[in-house]
Subunit: 313 residues, 2 copies
């Protein structure tokens, strides 16, 4: 059974970058050519959207498969379509696995006891894509219910060579409402971080990182640096780069000195690069895949130039 | 557009009880007759489980439809099966709606901005079952990300006459790890409760309860009483009755004086009543539906005798 971090680091070193591409299909932003192609195949409105999402994500995967180590499908956009969206999510995950990509399914699940275990068994395929209905290598998890509610996720992850990213500090503007509440002179997110770091230390591979990691938003660079120092065994998933406003310099502190320890996610700024400059002027809408390729390459370069990830090249 | 609470209270008054039956299919606990019937229809192992879950839940719904106002499918058990499980969940929700039941889908979702909105649009059908892929009247939501992350759920709920139950104090033994952390002399769950009560007050129908409610575990009777007093506009969903150990007396404080203000959930103790005494001695496994009916009637009686809900009869 290969450990999640072993597989992740292999993929990061192979591609030479910690860039993580989110798969966030949004119907109103899809290239017209994708929508038209879906309309030719069916007339039912929900099936048109599902068909368009599948084609869009498949083609996105084909563009980025040789560039980045991992992709992060956002479950919400698929689930928005009902059960047909869930089927597309399963196929998109499978397609990405088949393309040799690590797949982190962004589900932010949380529940207790055997219910938490049911989620874990449904999503955490880990090393063997056939082990679960949704064949993810790793998922995101919400910690509000406490560590007994995290434990079933951890157990299944260890058993299957899968990974977890537990929300610590989220990237939204109002993240601090509860996460910054101070108790015993430390904010809530530091209390969560302490538990995550314990779980990470307990689930390490031969390198120093654990199968349990954490989510820390790039939009809070100070907290990101603080948490990298406080959590030496915790692999970080860092959202908020690009469209949410964070730069490569903002995420530099997320890495350990060797350039490992973090994945930096960009979703909308890559998925819909054809809608923004400079790509909007360079490419026509049906050339959206070239915009995706350029935007991904640009992100990879920015991370290499401004963070320890440059050492991975 | 009928308000969620208006529909919920109508259903509670009509059935004369606040008993909420969880739909928690667990393959290892299913009556043998259900599993055998599924095996006759297909040979694929995952499809057998999905087929068995559907038949079990459909028959559960038929037993309780005239007894209780609402059911609560637990999404995790369906999602555990992959996309075929999600299809079954959609059909189960629809079946319960068609049976005149209020459906609270226990998904415990959380995300930010337009991603949170995607979940809300996917699950919160509200007054019109055709408005969403999963036709729920209400869902459960996790508050860790803060109130800007709750806002899209609230907006869609108000727009569609749907309801939300935000996790405040969960029923698991380790719930207090983060939820009890004190900040400004109040535990985290009270800070969450303050936000939930504000949202409840902003989303009231002509009675005093809001479309936004809260989840408070019956396994913490002291906190339940404290929160009922602190949250006059908040309709409570109370898990932990039955199998998790809480009694009718433990949940009495969840209600307002008129017997409204709370739904008391029991899942396993009703779903699999045929496996426990006294029903195990009274009925054979294939008579499991009679055990479900008796266990539901027993819960309804216990709540009527020991809580203000007796006034609903």
């Amino acid at each position: 059974m290969s450990h999640y971090i072993t597989r992740l680091h292999q993929s990061i070193r192979h591609k030479g970058t910690p860039a993580l591409v989110g798969l966030d299909p949004r119907f109103e932003l899809l290239p017209q050519s994708i929508v038209e192609s879906a309309r030719k195949r069916t007339t039912d409105e929900r099936t048109i959207v599902a068909t368009a999402f599948e084609e869009f994500c498949f083609r996105l995967i084909d563009v980025v498969r040789d560039l980045v180590p991992a992709v992060k499908p956002q479950a919400a956009f698929f689930e928005q379509l009902g059960a047909s969206g869930s089927q597309v999510l399963a196929r998109v995950i499978r397609r990405a696995r088949d393309a040799g990509l690590i797949v982190i399914c962004d589900v932010k699940r949380s529940d207790i006891g055997s219910t938490a275990e049911a989620y874990a068994r449904g999503y955490l395929a880990g090393a063997d894509p056939d082990a679960a209905g949704w064949a993810a290598d790793a998922i995101t998890v919400n910690p509000y219910l406490g560590s007994d509610a995290l434990q079933p996720f951890v157990q299944v992850a260890v058993e299957r060579g899968a990974g977890l990213y537990i929300l610590i500090r989220t990237s939204n503007p109002g993240a601090g409402l509860f996460q910054d509440l101070k108790s015993d002179s430390l904010p809530l997110y530091r209390h969560v971080a302490r538990i995550v770091e314990e779980l990470a230390a307990e689930t390490c591979d031969q390198t120093k990182f654990g199968a349990v990691g954490g989510v820390v938003g790039a939009t809070y660079p100070h907290e990101l640096a603080e948490l990298r120092n406080a959590m030496p065994h915790t692999s970080l998933l860092v959202p908020g780069y690009g469209n949410q406003g964070a730069s490569a310099k903002d995420v530099a502190a997320a890495f350990s000195a060797d350039g490992l320890g973090a994945l930096i996610n960009s979703s909308r700024a890559i998925n819909f690069a054809y809608l923004r400059e400079p790509f909007k002027s360079q490419y026509r809408p049906h050339e959206w895949e070239q915009a995706v390729e350029d935007a991904t390459a640009q992100m990879i370069d920015e991370l290499a130039e401004n963070t320890p990830a440059g050492k991975l090249r």
